[in-house]
Each structure stands twice: as C-alpha cells, then as structure tokens.
Amino acid sequence: MKYYRTHVLVCVDPECLGKGAHDIEDALQDELVAQGLIDEVQVLETSRIGGCSHGPEMMVYPDGVHYVGMTVDDIPFLVEEHFLKGRIAKKFLLPRVEVKDEELSAPTSKEVRVVLRNCGKVDPENIEDYIAEDGYQALGKVLGSMTSDQVIEEVLASGLRGRGGAGFPAGKKWQFCRASKGTPKFVICNADEGDPGAFMNRRVLEGDPHAVIEGMIIAAYAIGSSRGYIYCRAEYPLAVRTLNIAIKQARALGLLGEDILGSGFSFDLEVRIGAGAFVCGEETALMGSIEGKRGEPRPRPPFPAVSGLWAKPSNVNNVETYANVPQIILNGAKWYASMGTEKSKGTKTFALAGDVNHTGLIEVPLGINMREVVYDIAQGIKDGKKLKAVQIGGPMGGCLPEEYLDRPIDYESLAAAGTIMGSGGLVVMDEDTCMVDIARFFMEFIQDESCGKCTPCRVGTRRMLEILQRICKGEGKNGDIETLEMLCKQIRATSLCGLGQGAPNPVESTLKHFRKEYEAHIFEKRCPAKVCKGLIRYDITDTCTGCTVCLRNCPVGAITGDRRKLHVIDTDTCIRCGICMQVCNFNAIEIN
C-alpha cells in the first residue's frame, strides 16, 4: 500500500457534479503533477461533505480543512497555498465551518452526527476507510458475543424508532419478525427516498454505504434471515453504484456471504432498483415491486413481519434506521437513549430547504425545538423576512405556524400538531408564501403519485385538488372549506396505505393554522400573500418615470403609455407574469 501525506476528498455527488466537480478534480490532478506533488497528495472522490449549496467542495485530510466554491482557475492558487506552502486558502473556506481536526460542524452548531458521522470523512468506495472508523466492529461484537435476543433487547432499549416516517419502534418490528413462523425471512432496506426535498438517505448511501450494510447484517442476525434486499430508487444512480461496490468489497472480506466472520451465520444481499414510482416507498408496494409486479400497496394486516416479500416474514426499515444500528451496538443502548426525549430517542437527519440562509443536511438530537433549527442552525430567514410556516414531513406532512417554533421536534409533538416526522424534509417558508397555494401544490403532487388502486385516494384527492385550484383562481365558494374538511376525514379513514391516509395532511394542517387565508381567498377574493394569480392585479404607481422598459418587455402588450408619462396596465389583458415588476428599475410596479 502506498502512503500519502495528504488526502483530498473531492465531493462528486450530483450537486457538485452539476457544478463541474469533475473538471475541478482533473485540474487538481494536473496541477499536483505539475508541482511534483502527485506522490504526496492523493485525490479521492467522496460524497456529502456538508455545505451542499456551496459546491463544488473538497475536504483536505489530515488537516480537516473544508474548501468550497472554487473554480478550475482557482486550482493552481489552491495547490500552491495549501499543498506547497502549507497555508490555508481562507477565501475558499465555508464561512460557517471552522477548521477542526475531524468534526465538520461548527462549534456553535447544535448538531450531533451519528448517521452522518462518516460522510465526507471516508472514501465510500474503500471498505478499509470504514473499518478504520470502527466499521464492522459492531458486527464482530454481535456475532462473537451476543445472541439474537440480546441484539433485539439492545435495539429495543435504545428506543430507536423507524426513521422512514411512521416511527414504529425498530426493536419491536424485529421481535415480531423473529417470532413469525416461515422461512426464509427477508431483511429489506427501503432506499426509495421519494419525498421532494428530502435527500438524507442518498447522502448516507453515497457517503457511508457500509454503515447501512452493517446495520442490515445485524438485523438479519437478530431476525434469523439469510437474504436481504436494498430497494433503491433509479433516480439515485451514484448511490446504486456505491452500494454495489460496497457489497462486493464486503463479500470479498467475508463480511457478507457464507459463514460470516467464522460464526456460522450466513447472509447476503442485493440491490434492487426502482423505475420511478413514488408509492414504492410504501413498504408493501416496495415488496410488490421487488417481486416484479406493479408497485401497488396491499392491505395490512397481515404486516410484512408476518407475510411480506413472497408472503414470507420480512423486515422493512429505511436507510437511516439501519445506519443507526452499528453505533447503538457499539456504544450501547444507554448512550443512544441519552439523546432525545422520553419517547423519541436519538438523532434525526433533516434536509433543510426553503427561505433560510443555510440550506443542506443536518442531524440533530430529537427534542430540539424548531426555533433552534431555523434560527441557530439554518441562520434565520433570508433577507431578514418573517417566518410564516415550517413544512415538515414531506408531501404527506403538514405546515406549522410560528407559534409552534418552541415545541420540541419529536414524533408525539408533531403528531399532536397535525403533521408527521416523515423521512426528514424540512421546508421553511417566509411571509411571501401563500398557504392555500402550498396546499394546492402538495395536493397536485399527491394526486399525481396516487397509484390509483383505491378509490378514496384516487378520486378523493382529485376532488380536493379541483376545489383548491378553484379557490386559488378566485372562484372559491361558500362551503368549500367544509367540503375539504369532510373529504380530509373520509380519505384518511378509508385509504389503503400511508400515501392516501396522509394525503389530507397538507390541507388539514393549513386549514387548522391558516384558515383565515382560505377565507380571504373565498370570501374577499384576495390572496394575502399576493401569490395566486387569479386574485392579484399589477398596477403602476406614480414613481413611474415613463422609461418604457415595462411596455417593451410585456409579452402580451398590456401596458400603454407615452415616453416620460405614467404608464398603465390593462388588467384584462395582463396575464400576471410579473415580468414588468422584474424589469422596472424604479420599483413602480405593485401588486394589489
């Protein structure tokens, strides 16, 4: 093995690739050769470093320096400063991240990294990197010194709950599956992360695939399974590639396959790839898809623990749940349970998005309140605006208003507030957001992704969407709110799977917390946030200088006026595209 004094990990996840990470990598290689440093500095590819929105990014070890936002032209400077002169090139440091040995997060951060601990730190395509970070030690401990029951006990005691959204205790699930009669039993990892805006699992799969694999092997040992599947969505080609490499390497070292670590226990797994269907994230639909059928949900009970894949006992957990397991085994249930609240233990990853200053992935202990996440970790709302709502739980989640900021983030509190933990999407919305429009947007998504098997979801969500579309157009009627409420109740009670049962959440939660906005749309024909096109009009104020820019840019010729005279918009012709407002140099266009 060759030794290098320094390793540079260049992030090549899709976000950074989109910003030219490959060009950066090539330039770096060339420059290292040119400077004669190529035998001292090794360039590696990785995923998920941290400042996702600042890419391209790279991490330099052992220095632990995190560089972001460089271009190909900056590489000679960077190589000279850091690798030749040993000085940190300050202008490429992420403003928030301080230089530290190992941790990526800033000291002020309220983050705790368990699932993301290795992401950006290890080469995901090299199993030795993972092993050097205590990887597969938990597996050794389990196979060498624990019985299956003891493993389940430990996971139960840790309080780990399903991180896919529903929050069912993982240990309980394992227990049921272990107790089920029937062989073979299957261990399945749900990596069909379809919620728009949620990409936590992708980062774990791309950045630390062995943590998931190790968690699955431990689960298989606890349950008594010899065969596993990772169902990964086709939209994540890099994750699929990384997983396949990881599985191959684990097999080569005898960590997967026959007689693992000489224990007599055998387990192997393979990756199954989806073909683009959101509903396949639902566990019974997912199993249908693995069987080669349409990915449609089936009624539960029987639960997968009793009758799952090919009607055999199966255990389905998501990526994050499995990734927690090795750490729980290694550090003990007590350690894990020391984080979080009474009923929600441990940490949770979230994908922060929306109108906040810092977006990207975070991992926080459960029980943290929303205010800390929005104002301390995400550094507040963009442009100093006011917060309106936080949307949590994905498309089947709900919107929480400002009053809920001080409540803890845990399964029970979120359920009480009318939303769900979900898989970890967290969208922050500022005062310019129309909540009726948001409800319509999510309903559109749900309607589109409804698989069509059961009527309440297929027809009910369509009816709801039609009503919401009418309200947004300014054609809402007295009684619409009541009809929506009735539909919410019925769809929730009668739908087959989580998609249908959760479908009313965006509407119900916005109705609960922002009912006044619905009423303004319906009764006053007014969109308070000035978003819904059917309810706004553009006007020109007297700050207009008559420069004719708006007139020339209007695509439908709705603006008239002579040079140096006040211009006028013809509301009937205007299509509310907003171009005039964008091009006006005098802020003379207003929305009424």
Partner: protein, 169 residues
C-alpha cells in the same frame, strides 16, 4: 400514474428489427435473470438499450418468462421510467418538485418549452428531443435542476437553457 399517456403504438419513423429486439431481450434476460421477479430489471435494461420498449419486445419477454403480455404491459405502464413510446435521441428531464419550484423552476420550465417546443412526454418530429418532467432527483440544494440523458445541471437560469441544449448533437 403520471400525466404521460402510454400506449403501445407502431411508429413509422422508428422501427427496430425483430432480430435486434430478440438480441436485446436475450441479453437483458442473460444479465438480469429469467424469472418473474427479474421483470422490472429486464424491462429497465431493454428501455435503456432501445430507448423504449417496442411491442415486439413484449412478445419476446412474454415468451421467455412464460408471462402473459397483459401482465407485462401492466408493469411497464406503471413505472414512470419505462416507456412504450419511442423516445428522442436525448431525453431532457425537468425536476418539478417543490424545492426546485420555489427557487425559480417555473421560468426554467418555460424556457425549456420555448427552446424545444414540446409538451411533457412529447418527442420532437426529428427524433432529437424528448421532454419529460421528473420527480425529485434529490439534488435540491442546487435547484432548479434539469438533466439531459445522464448529465445533471444545477442552479439553472432560463438563459442557460439554450447554451446547455446546444451541447447535444
């Protein structure tokens, strides 16, 4: 389940010879396996090689897997990424999810449509482009996002659309 209506149809502009279909199906089966559980990977592979799944391929897969064509079509029409219609040489995908929507995705979408004059799911008459919308690609931190074939482009502005499309022959 998505807006795209999929029908088995013969087109005159794109035809794949029967021997070619047999060869592709044979290779897909050899790669993925020949049981019912391998159906989705087999169809994905055929779709990948030929750009879509022609009617002849359904016949051939049906024969090899001993499965009725109806069941095959039922599966193929369920998944968004499998197409029973011929697609263009390059497939443009636009992410229509909320995170891309809130950072200006709408304007990019309009620019895309202006550039290729297609509605979602449509293929241009010259067979160069197919325009599609896609569900979240998980690269939300650099939205709006479009992909052309396997290439991902992030932080797209409407002005960049033409420049990106010009790179493809």
């Amino acid at each position: 389940m998505n807006g795209e209506v999929q029908t088995v149809q013969q087109t005159t502009s794109v035809t794949v010879s029967e021997s070619r279909v047999r060869e592709v199906v044979g290779a897909a089966v050899a790669k993925c396996g020949a049981t019912r559980e391998d159906l989705v990977p087999i169809l994905t592979e055929i779709n990948h090689v030929l750009g879509y799944i022609p009617p002849e391929a359904f016949n051939e897969v049906s024969r090899v897997l001993h499965t009725p064509i109806g069941q095959l079509f039922s599966v193929a029409s369920f998944y968004q990424m499998l197409s029973t219609k011929p697609r263009g040489r390059h497939v443009i995908q636009f992410c229509e999810s909320a995170p891309c929507h809130v950072v200006g995705g709408g304007a990019v979408w309009k620019a895309l449509q202006d550039a290729v004059h297609l509605v979602p799911g449509e293929t241009s008459p010259d067979g160069k482009w197919t325009l599609r919308t896609t569900s979240c690609l998980g690269v939300c931190a650099v939205g709006p996002v479009i992909t052309v074939d396997e290439d991902i482009y992030g932080n797209i502005t409407p002005k960049q659309v033409n420049e990106i499309l010009e790179r493809y022959e």
